[in-house]
Amino acid sequence: MRLVRLVLARVAFYLFVTLVAAFFALPMLWLVLTPFNPRGTLAAEIPSPATMANFRLVFANAFAMRALLNSAILGIGAMLITTLVATLAAYALSRTDVPGLDFLIYALILFSSVVTGTAAMVPIFLLIFYLGLIDTLLGVILVFTGGLLPTAIFIMRDFVEGIPRSYEESALVSGATPRQMFQDVVAPLVQPGMMVVAIWAFVHVWGAFLIPFILLRSPTSMPASVAIYSFYTEAGTPIITLTSSYALLFALPVLVLYLLVNWRYGFRFFGGIKR
């Protein structure tokens, strides 16, 4: 009886796992196969013969390549500023005693999800316009930084809290300034946390569509998420070979980052959003 139940449980488990794996893998099949297909359609077909010609065409497209560079600038820019500013703030929040800050941080995190969505697009557009930052990568970087900061601070704070205070206390005794303490004692210790925030911020900004779509106005400043629609709309219908190749290319850095993180740290929540 017990054995039957065990076997049944095993069978159910494998069935469930297979279904889940299929559900998550099948939609991606098209993305993986089509770029190598000389005749791209909306069907996921095994390419025969497989070709790299689509990629060669994409690489030869200066506008598309420029767009990937713009995406990188946006991603790296937002990543650097967010990580630095969030670490400073998390440190301050962890090492001073101001009541009610916890509550404030939570409230801001919840608000920040609004600001990166459509609801705040109009004021964000007007704000960036009046600041003279429309059509600049900097404008987009700043908007993203604003939206990402609360969550970044929240994640960072867990890491800072994890550092024993004794290091700083002895540094204080030997007369270190707060700046030295942050730079020489704290920053090296929270590096793993900074990595997490940095990668999280990069992935977020790299793939974002709406904000750059509204705030960037000229082809030379478009990121890949907007530029991909130039393949889509040529001739009014998508050129599927090029679109899919470019899509795969665009997804690649994120895939590589994931593998890197998974191999280095194991992909899991570092403290993160839990209580």
Partner: protein, 302 residues
């Protein structure tokens, strides 16, 4: 604060916080206030009211909440209803439940299977929006899509997904897209439960479901709450379905976020768009406050 005198003075702390405060006030609080103001004007991007906009009181809100027509296609009530279906279907039922199920299935299980499933789920979560949008348009295509190909293999009739089942389509899509977060959160929550808790129950002969219901669920209750409220907010605000359906056909997949975008950036009505944005933010605020209240109450209890 875990004991001891504060290491930084409030003054120094303030300096460290200053850049964050700047960003947050400029890009989060200020837009919030501005959109509030906009919602009481008739500001547009084109037409006479682009130059001579004026305060119009509650007119935008009246139009939004005209209960005679608001459930018809392309109106606010319609969008709200679709958003509600979308949130319940894809966030609560889809992501949270599936995420929990996966995390629980692999509790105490390591090895290749887990790696594969986790990798697939996480990849669906992290690849860029436009890429998944194209991928899903291909997946759901009536004539050549993978999903209908599978249905035909199973001898089932193909479905014109994006036309006949637009809401279901974006619900399935968003479940696929976002389950990773819940899965990871529940997985790290489960990891904190010592195996000994379960072993005694096993000795007593409890079934898997009993163990889950009586031991695991109470222990991860606060995680479930955190998860649900965050994914509810994210799902409510997401814009990605626009890239797949454009809100159509006939507004049948027009979420509130898409509705806002259409009014503000396709009809160029900033004032009216502002009113919808305020409504959206208020809904967010209510959700957020509910979360904070429950969390605080729990904090007191533990």
């Amino acid at each position: 604060m875990t004991g001891g005198a504060p290491i930084l003075s409030r003054r120094t702390g303030f300096f460290f916080l200053l850049p964050s405060l700047g960003f947050v006030s400029l890009f989060i609080l200020f837009p919030f206030v501005w959109v509030f103001y906009l919602s009481f004007t008739n500001q547009t991007l084109t037409g006479v009211t682009a130059i001579q906009s004026r305060l119009v009181g509650l007119a935008n809100y009246h139009r939004l909440l005209d209960f005679e027509t608001w459930m018809t296609s392309g109106q606010f009530g319609n969008a709200l209803r679709i958003s509600a279906q979308f949130v319940v279907g894809s966030a609560l039922i889809g992501q949270a439940l599936l995420g929990l199920a996966i995390a629980w299935a692999f509790y105490r299980w390591r090895g290749a299977f887990r790696e594969i499933v986790y990798t697939l789920v996480i990849l669906a979560w992290i690849i860029p929006d436009v890429v998944v949008a194209f991928t899903w348009m291909a997946f759901l295509d009536r004539d050549r899509g993978t999903l209908n190909a599978i249905l035909q293999l199973l001898r089932l009739a193909p479905v014109d997904w994006l036309i006949q089942q637009p809401v279901l389509s974006i619900i399935i899509f968003n479940t696929w897209r976002g389950t990773a977060f819940s899965m990871l959160l529940f997985s790290s929550a489960l990891a904190t439960i010592p195996p000994s808790y379960l072993e005694s129950a096993e000795v007593a002969g409890a079934s898997g479901w009993q163990k889950f219901r009586d031991i695991i669920l109470p222990l991860i209750r606060s995680h479930i709450l955190t998860d649900i409220i965050l994914i509810t907010l994210w799902t409510f605000n997401t814009f990605t379905p626009f890239l797949i359906t454009g809100g159509g056909p006939a507004f049948k997949s027009e979420l509130v976020s898409i509705y806002t975008f259409r009014i503000a950036f396709q009809f160029f009505e900033f004032g009216r768009g502002g009113a919808i944005a305020v409504a959206m933010m208020l809904i967010n605020l209510v959700l957020a406050l509910t979360y904070l209240t429950i969390l605080r109450r729990q904090g007191v209890r533990t």
